[in-house]
């Protein structure tokens, strides 16, 4: 006899699930959807919050100076990596560094790249000055390269490729000399090169687009640090009064201003996100409760037979709860796994969608979110089945049989 000889209460539960694969699958699917929504929405919300948290520190500058009219565009580059290009005269570098309270300045040159084959999101090429840089170096995760040659680049955390790989821009090959950490900002989709190389790339870009080449020696923006005794607003005011607010043709943006505009949209986004997932959650919970109640009703005859051969009320309820508990454990793990599978590799796209700084929580927090999602989903499923199972458990055994249609 191939039949397994020992047969236990656990086997009864297992057989009930295994022998009704469609029913079990539907329930697992619903719980998985519940966990998927729960885990996915908390992960995205956490990532948005973490992306915005300490963003000022991560941007690494106190003031951003750009040509007047480009402040928004520059924010886009810094926060989200939306590629674009604009220019100002290099003399500003010296002028700004001469203002009281400014301790360091470093120029950037922005070149909007076409979609590159390395990446499915548009890449921002940025020229930077390695001598004065205080923005890029702190983020380099691989060993810090020496002076970058013209064909060497430092790439953001989201750019595909490893140190030593070659990327093509405007027909030229550049080899990756270093890679940066994820910053949750626009740097993740940026490629940094030295100023000379960037000017050549800018000319390549202009000729490819049939546009005018940028003025010789021009730069796009200046990042500035200030000393502890000054405030960003105060220094910005000093710059404006020294060079004339309108006449100067530049805009001085305190990094905080960028951040506060971000936190407003963060609050709106997380708010509507929370509301949306609450609606989804209530919907799937109701379907689950309905399904459990329909399913348990359909099983009245089965329960009646079990009562007639001596299952007690308590044990009958325990059996049903074990079944739904098992189903919801499997379902929630599946749902969280799928959710993670979807959200983890595509963080760059997700940032594109939300247009916000986005940074995944660390492993510990990720596990905590997963555990809480499992617990909540299992609790929801148990609650959904508890009501109907108690009703059936408490019904007169004979009625259970009768209404089962015996």
């Amino acid at each position: 006899m191939s039949e397994k000889m020992s047969f236990t209460f656990q086997d009864i539960i297992w057989c009930n699930l295994k022998r009704k694969p469609l029913r079990s699958f539907c329930l697992i699917f619903l719980v998985a959807a519940l966990a998927f929504v729960l885990f996915g929405s908390s992960l995205i919300t956490r990532s948005l919050i973490k992306g915005t948290d300490g963003l000022a520190k991560r941007l690494g500058a106190d003031l951003l100076i750009v040509p007047r009219g480009y402040a928004q565009t520059a924010e886009g580059i810094l926060l989200r990596g939306s590629p674009s290009a604009f220019y100002m005269e290099p003399e500003w570098l010296e002028k700004i560094s001469g203002v009281e309270g400014v301790t360091a300045v470093s120029p950037h040159l922005f070149i909007a790249s076409l979609n590159s084959d390395c990446c499915s999101v548009p890449i921002q090429l940025i020229g930077f000055d390695q001598d004065t840089d205080f923005i890029v170096a702190p983020w380099i995760k691989t060993s810090v390269p020496g002076i970058l040659k013209d064909n060497e680049i430092v790439v953001g955390g989201a750019v595909a490729g490893r140190v030593g790989d070659t990327l093509q821009f405007f027909g030229r090959g550049y080899s990756i000399a270093a890679k940066m950490e994820y910053t949750g900002s626009g740097f993740d989709a940026s490629v940094f090169m030295n100023m000379d190389a960037a000017r050549i790339a800018a000319r390549d870009c202009a000729s490819k687009m049939g546009a005018d080449a940028p003025p010789e020696k021009s730069i796009s923006s200046i990042m500035a640090l200030i000393d502890d005794s000054s405030t960003p607003i105060g220094v910005a005011g000093r710059i404006n009064s020294a060079f004339g607010y309108v006449k100067s043709g530049i805009a001085v943006v305190p990094a905080q201003n960028i951040i506060s505009s971000v936190s407003v949209s963060l609050r709106m986004l997380t708010g509507s996100f929370g509301a949306l997932s609450a609606v989804l959650w209530i919907a799937s919970f109701s379907i689950l409760a309905l399904l459990f109640s329909a399913m348990l009703n359909e099983r009245r005859q089965e329960f009646g037979i079990l009562r007639s051969v001596g299952i007690s009320r308590k044990k009958l309820i325990a059996m049903v709860l074990w079944e739904s508990g098992l189903i919801s454990c499997i379902g929630s793990v599946v749902g969280i796994f799928l959710s993670a599978l979807l959200l983890m590799p595509f963080r760059i796209y997700i940032r594109e969608i939300f247009n916000m700084p986005y940074m995944m929580p660390g492993f510990g927090q990720l596990c905590a979110i997963a555990c809480i999602s499992v617990l909540l989903s299992v609790a929801a499923a148990l609650l959904a089945s508890l009501l109907s199972s108690v009703k059936i458990g408490n019904a007169d055994a004979y009625r259970v049989i009768r209404e089962g249609g015996l």
């Binding site: 000889m5 009864i12 057989c15 009930n16 022998r19 009562r307 007639s308 051969v309 001596g310």
Partner: protein, 218 residues
Amino acid sequence: MILEASGIKKEYIRAGNSFWALNDVSLSVDEGEFICIVGRSGSGKTTLLNILAGLLTPTSGSVYFEGREYSGLSDCELSGMRSTRLGYIMQGQTVLPNFTVLQNTLIPHVLADRGDAAEAAMSLLEQVGLAHLAGQYPSSLSGGELRRVSIARALLSSPVLLIADEPTGDLDEETAGEIMRIFTSVSKKGTAVLMVTHDMNSAAFGTRSYRMASGQLL
């Protein structure tokens, strides 16, 4: 005396009208007896058996099983009694589709937490001629075979009382005869059998028989 029921009444309410499905029924069952109850459809036979099995509470009257009154027992105690001392073969098809023949036979045993009984179950299946189907699922069994599974299931715990509701209802004469022989041999070994049937041939196997009419035992 194994079972003693006295003054059992059961009132049902249907469409606002109440009526007595059982009207003052008394019955006692001794060890090794084989009692048959016949009666027309709707006369209250199943209602009586459900009350005797502790699945249904009578409106009035008392049932003693092995000296204990049902109304004084908790659900756990009643259920424990059904899974160990009393075998109840309900009317209709009651083999569970999710389990094999052997597993179905073992279920009361599992519910009573009474360890491994696979060997006892196999020898019972042997007795009812189903050993070769032990690993099969009910969907592939005939009506007579299914009935024998529920008999084996009811007998596994060696109950002192076996209650059967129309065990031969939808079976041919020969198969019905086989089942009656099983019941006879069970009662010869000391288990009391209480059987409801429509079939006069089956009723002839009983040592004592009753007729049920409009809720009364005659």
